[in-house]
Symmetry: C3
Subunit: 269 residues, 3 copies
Amino acid sequence: MKLPNIASTLTKVRQQNPLVHNITNVVVTNFTANGLLALGASPVMAYAPEEVADMASLAGALVLNIGTLNEQEIAAMLLAGQGANRQGVPVIFDPVGAGATAYRTTTARKIVQEVKVSIVRGNAGEIANVVGENWTVRGVDAGANKGDVVALAQTAARKLGTVVVVTGPEDVVTDGQRTYVVANGHPLLTKVTGTGCLLSSVIGAFAAVERDMLLAATSALVSYGVAAEIAAANQGQAGPGSFQIEFLNQLSKVSSEEIIKYGSVREIN
Amino acid sequence: MKLPNIASTLTKVRQQNPLVHNITNVVVTNFTANGLLALGASPVMAYAPEEVADMASLAGALVLNIGTLNEQEIAAMLLAGQGANRQGVPVIFDPVGAGATAYRTTTARKIVQEVKVSIVRGNAGEIANVVGENWTVRGVDAGANKGDVVALAQTAARKLGTVVVVTGPEDVVTDGQRTYVVANGHPLLTKVTGTGCLLSSVIGAFAAVERDMLLAATSALVSYGVAAEIAAANQGQAGPGSFQIEFLNQLSKVSSEEIIKYGSVREIN
Amino acid sequence: MKLPNIASTLTKVRQQNPLVHNITNVVVTNFTANGLLALGASPVMAYAPEEVADMASLAGALVLNIGTLNEQEIAAMLLAGQGANRQGVPVIFDPVGAGATAYRTTTARKIVQEVKVSIVRGNAGEIANVVGENWTVRGVDAGANKGDVVALAQTAARKLGTVVVVTGPEDVVTDGQRTYVVANGHPLLTKVTGTGCLLSSVIGAFAAVERDMLLAATSALVSYGVAAEIAAANQGQAGPGSFQIEFLNQLSKVSSEEIIKYGSVREIN
């Protein structure tokens, strides 16, 4: 996967301004919307069962995130997901906290069974719990970087029949056949809430403009990670508040030249 | 409408610190509350059917926003609106996404039928869909600046019997008789989520201190737009993250002198 | 209570990275999560009745906040509180707006009756209304600093059998026997939404690492207040937007040396 192709995919997002329908958690709605706007996409949040299928079918991508799930929202996610499926709209799924409680694990598995998902993104613990592999989780943020993350991602991709993104100190993207490791990003991302959730929505924006889901997901990871690195270089020393704001700035500014200069993707054979 | 009167209305908001009750969407609650605080108003969010009429009757204004509507919230909006009506508390309505889905359009029309609304604010597409005029909408942000916005606003004001504010590159305020165009604001507002929603709540703060709804709405638009222009001049080049923060700063700082110097209102005959 | 002990308690939060489960209002979720992350704690928000007891029992502390209460959320708070009680997890309760509507007052009283709460934090009006003392409240932010706040706090602590924190221009912490007054903080905190709510969650982070609830609450107040003072000194003149961001920065940076230098606690005999 070549960095100029990744930069071109980012350019397509900015040119096409895709509508991304998010059914996401109450913690990250504002940050998700601002991140998508900064990037050049057009966010919409809609949750009512009466309208989610309509809204999802208008969108370029649908992002489902169970961070603060409840029964009504799960029902809406299934309706939205099925609406998206009928129209061929790609669905991105973020199984926040799968493994932390039985309810989250069960719900995550129900969603991947009842909706045709294109890309699943989570940390290693979440992905392991969605597919029933052994991994330890605490709260909703844990499980990073123990065990063989590449093998886990590949197993999950094969079991789910989707592209899987496992994020951590390095990110793994795979469809079970081809596998890429992205080494962009910055530890300060873990000090700002919703950076994983926003990443899932950003992957949605890329999936709305690029049919190759491996290229879409990898391009999102590189663009996001490079923006974070530049933001950390500019404002990281000031602290996590300033970093968050500068990260939004850089999502709107990160250029093709910076993607090509700082992007780090390698294929695993 | 004279700029010194507009500046005086802003001063009244800061002196009277009006309580503004918002039933708004989950994306913009935090930004709305911070924007109202910065301006000098006192925000409250309350949604439970058990208390919304009580809270609305304590407030200086009630703001209803259907950005992430659901059945429970619509029921609460009707109860709150009727409570406000009984006490003579002005109601501002923001029909977010009317036209994007049938559910939003139907709900918006139900609210203007069952609640006596003082001011409706939306973009051209939303306003057109509330009153059944022809206009194209995509997602919740579209429909700006095609067709004759002034004629649309006047038609809507007459049909609804309210003041109507149609925002876009220029904003139109009308009661169907007198019509003003405000040419303040900045394109960066479209890169920050909830700037339309916050504007509706800011209009609520002005309506709480000024009985003339045309003066209240126009004063809100000018104050908001001038604050945005100053914020963009100070921090716009840094990006949308920094602009958002500086905009909150300027809502607290924008002065009578700046309103008079930079305000742009013209009457349409 | 000695400042080096307070500084040590802050250090324990940063070392132990406690999981704080928040059931809080829709206005402050993002700011609460970012504030806890900045401080060094690990936030989780979970609201579904199907999982709240599980999540609360995994946490180091549970924080209940009724800022945008509804029937479902109250039911979840009771389940979570009882789950926390079974595991000995401390529960912090923030009765936002008690007294503003009958519904809030009734709910607040129900929660302190049905859940064993360790610490209650509110402004004077809220605390008075929880325990049935006379005090005037407007909206959700009122009631600061009229009447004898120390006597109110002590009465409330004895009636509730908990530690009570009454915040205002000066903060009072008491278990009904020992009483401390903390004179840190800054008026700009009142211009940023959710600073009271975040404080309750920060008290939760301290209660997760320190069994002495008076020391935990006082350490939280001093750390929070000193961070606010430094943030105001650095960015207060820029306005409330910049202050909010710098406050997040300072929550991550405030040092033992600064706690000892700027902390202000006195015991009331």
